[in-house]
């Protein structure tokens, strides 16, 4: 078995020079200290984003983003499609947990002052991803096209409308007209499944490349520490395996929440 993997690896390595990448990954390490636990929340946010992409694609198989059909198609997903209720419930739970986990991630970066030079760009891309995350939430909330969604969007876009000068045009742009109508639904659907995911993926790519290139941020004072105070573990495979184990736990938590407290 091992020999076959070795063969496949060699075949790709001859063409794509994987060895350099493996070596690079081997060099990255994760500092072990009192606050190490906070290193996991970026990974958890990433995992929840992946969950959103997967469940979102699954929902797209049955959801219809139009004025006449949106509400009915949700009813269809909830009552006719096998496990449709589960997929939808996971999608809304993971959406909320994503914001929670992103906030924990960002607060830990903030309080550890991990955003300091040279990591400003990582922080900025992270900020934009948070805004997009909120945009995902706002646009996704309209898609069920029920009364709650309708009035929430009405109020939400009204808030944009009271901004001086630019408010009105923004509100009209968001609504696709003067009022919340089927045009708004079409727009929000487009933002939710195409525009935001596209931008988010680019930002996420930059964010992850930066994290890999610059390595983990060390807490203040860690650099001067010596001996037993300066512990670290390799990112690959030690930290990654711990990450995966946590992802497994998060998925189980999601399933429990989605089944027993359907959202």
């Amino acid at each position: 078995m091992r020999r076959y993997w070795q063969k496949i690896f060699n075949w790709i390595d001859e063409r794509a020079e994987l060895k350099g990448l493996v070596e690079f990954m081997g060099k990255k390490y994760v500092p072990v200290h009192r606050g190490s636990v906070w290193y996991y929340f970026g990974g958890v946010s990433l995992f929840l984003f992946i969950i959103q992409v997967v469940t979102g694609i699954l929902l797209l198989l049955y959801y219809k983003g139009s004025e006449q059909l949106a509400f009915e198609s949700i009813q269809f997903i909830m009552s006719k499609v096998q496990f449709g209720w589960l997929i939808r419930s996971i999608h809304s739970w993971a959406a909320n947990l994503f914001i929670l986990s992103a906030f924990i991630h960002m607060f830990s970066v903030f309080f550890e002052r991990a955003y300091r030079k040279p990591r400003e760009l990582t922080w900025l891309t992270g900020m934009f991803m948070l805004f997009l995350g909120l945009g995902f939430g706002f646009s996704g909330y309209l898609l069920p096209w029920n009364e709650l969604a309708f009035f929430a969007t009405k109020v939400g876009t009204d808030i944009a409308g009271v901004l001086p000068l630019i408010g009105k045009p923004i509100m009209e742009f968001l609504r696709g007209g003067d009022d919340v109508t089927g045009a708004t639904l079409s727009r929000f659907f487009g933002f939710h499944v195409a525009v935001f995911p596209g931008i988010f993926t680019v930002l996420l790519g930059i964010h992850l490349v930066l994290v890999q290139r610059q390595g983990m941020s060390e807490p203040l004072g860690y650099e001067d520490a010596t001996g037993p105070d300066r512990k670290a573990m390799p990112f690959f495979p030690n930290f990654l395996l711990r990450d995966l184990l946590l992802w497994l736990l998060v998925l189980n938590l999601l399933a429990i929440l989605a089944v027993f407290f359907p959202w």
């Binding site: 699954l58 006719k80 499609v81 096998q82 496990f83």
Partner: protein, 151 residues
């Protein structure tokens, strides 16, 4: 206990753990994959059972013409011959499911895909079609024409 006994003991303990963990992993994977697969399977849609469809007014249907009517989600062809007889046939070619049409010049029902030909009673007379077109019933009520399934 001798050292080999201890080794033996360790090995069976390890095997036990391996089976428990491996089995757990397999069961976990199954509990993720099963709902996904079930979700992907499209649910049976309650298909609306159509028993008859209105074609139009009798005086609007010309002699020596054919028209395709949507019957549920299948096409039906209503052919009115030169002498005014009407006949409704399934418009799905029995060869490869293309939709057939009435050809004035031939006085036949013809399939554009592979040059299959049927006479006006739906009998396959030329080309690849293996069997005749299914027949539907034409009902004239007052001046309105309906097509319905044969019972």
């Amino acid at each position: 206990m001798s050292s080999t006994d201890i080794q033996q003991d360790d090995k069976s303990k390890r095997d036990f753990l391996k089976y428990v963990l491996g089995g757990g992993l397999v069961a976990w994977c199954a509990s993720v994959i099963y709902p996904l697969m079930a979700y992907l399977k499209p649910p049976k849609q309650a298909e609306v059972e159509v028993s008859s469809v209105k074609v139009g007014k009798l005086n609007e249907i010309e002699k020596d013409s054919g028209r395709i009517v949507r019957f549920g989600n299948k096409p039906v062809i209503l052919v009115r011959s030169t002498n005014g007889d009407m006949r409704a046939l399934s418009a799905t070619c029995t060869h490869l499911d293309c939709t057939v049409q009435y050809r004035k010049d031939m006085g036949l029902i013809w399939c554009a895909c592979h040059n299959g030909k049927y006479d006006l009673t739906g009998r396959n007379i030329d080309g690849p079609p293996p069997r005749p077109l299914d027949e539907f019933r034409v009902i004239v009520q007052g001046d309105e024409v309906f097509v319905s399934k044969r019972v």
